[in-house]
C-alpha cells in the first residue's frame, strides 16, 4: 500500500512588487503537512533569493484574513503575501 501523502495543497498568491519578483501571481503548491506560512515564504525565498529582503515588510493572509506567520496551513488554504498596501 502506498504511504499516506504527508502534504497539503495550498493556493499561493503574490501581489504588487512581490508578483513582479516572483514572476507570477498565483500558484497551486503541494507542501509539507503541518507547515506554517513562514515556512512557505522561506521555500519561495530559497527559490527566489531576492524575495527574502521583503519578509519584514510583507503581511500574510490565509483564506482572505490577515494571518500570523506561525499559522499552520491546511489543505485547500489560500495564502497571499501582501506588500504594504497603497490604495486610495
Amino acid at each position: 500500500m502506498a504511504p499516506v501523502s504527508q502534504t497539503v495543497r495550498v493556493k499561493v498568491l503574490f501581489f504588487g512588487r512581490l508578483k513582479d519578483v516572483v514572476g507570477q501571481s498565483e500558484e497551486s503548491l503541494d507542501f509539507t503537512a503541518a507547515s506554517t506560512i513562514e515556512q512557505l515564504f522561506a521555500l519561495y525565498s530559497e527559490r527566489i533569493p531576492q524575495l527574502a529582503k521583503y519578509r519584514s515588510s510583507v503581511l500574510a493572509s490565509r483564506n482572505q484574513e490577515f494571518a500570523a506567520w506561525d499559522a499552520v496551513l491546511h489543505s485547500g488554504d489560500e495564502v497571499a503575501f501582501l506588500p504594504p498596501v497603497s490604495g486610495g
Binding site: 512588487r17 513582479d20 490577515f66 506561525d70 497571499a80 501582501l82 506588500p83 498596501v85 490604495g87 486610495g88
Partner: protein, 158 residues
C-alpha cells in the same frame, strides 16, 4: 455588493466612477448631511511627473475589508449609509481612483466617518498602485496594514 442591513455599497470597478449615483444612493429624507471623499490621480509623485497609475487588488479580500470598514463606521458613528468604490486598472491623471460617500443626520458624524473610512482604507485594504513615469514604473511605497491577530499591538491607556 450591498449589505442588506444598511444598504451600503462596496465596489471594485474598472470603469470610471460615477460620484453622483453614489451620492444619490446614500441620500435619504431622514439625513441632513452627506460628506464625500474624492481621491484622484495626481500629476506628480515626489516631484517626478506621473504618466498614469495602475491599481490592482486582492479583490475578494479587499471587498471584505471594505465591508468591514463600513461595519466599523456604523458602530462608531450615528450615520445612515456608506458607499465605498475603488477603481482598478489603468487610471489617467485627474481620474477618480476612490470615492467615498457617507450620509448622516448631522454633519459632524458624516465628516468624522468619511475621514475614518479613507484613512482605514489606505491602511488596511489590499490594493496596490504602480506609478508609471517617463523612465520606468515603480510600486508605490505603501502603508503597513494593521498587525495580524497573533501579534496584537498594545492599546494606549484611555
Amino acid at each position: 455588493m450591498t449589505t442588506a442591513l444598511y444598504d451600503d455599497i462596496f465596489q471594485l470597478v474598472r470603469e470610471p466612477i460615477d460620484p453622483h449615483s453614489l451620492i444619490d444612493h446614500v441620500r435619504a429624507p431622514e439625513d441632513g448631511a452627506i460628506v464625500t471623499f474624492d481621491g484622484f490621480v495626481r500629476n506628480q509623485s515626489h516631484n517626478r511627473p506621473t504618466l498614469y497609475l495602475e491599481y490592482e487588488a486582492y479583490e475578494p479580500m479587499a471587498l471584505t475589508k471594505m465591508r468591514g470598514i463600513a461595519a466599523a463606521l456604523h458602530e462608531k458613528y450615528p450615520i445612515h449609509r456608506v458607499a465605498i468604490v475603488h477603481r482598478l486598472g489603468r487610471l489617467e491623471i485627474g481620474e477618480t481612483s476612490v470615492f467615498i460617500a457617507v450620509s448622516a443626520p448631522h454633519r459632524a458624524d458624516a465628516f468624522d466617518a468619511c475621514r475614518f473610512a479613507i484613512d482605514t482604507l489606505k491602511r488596511a485594504v489590499p490594493i496596490w498602485k504602480k506609478e508609471h513615469f517617463e523612465d520606468g514604473a515603480v510600486w508605490a511605497d505603501g502603508e503597513l496594514p494593521p498587525a495580524p491577530v497573533a501579534t496584537p499591538r498594545a492599546k494606549p491607556a484611555s
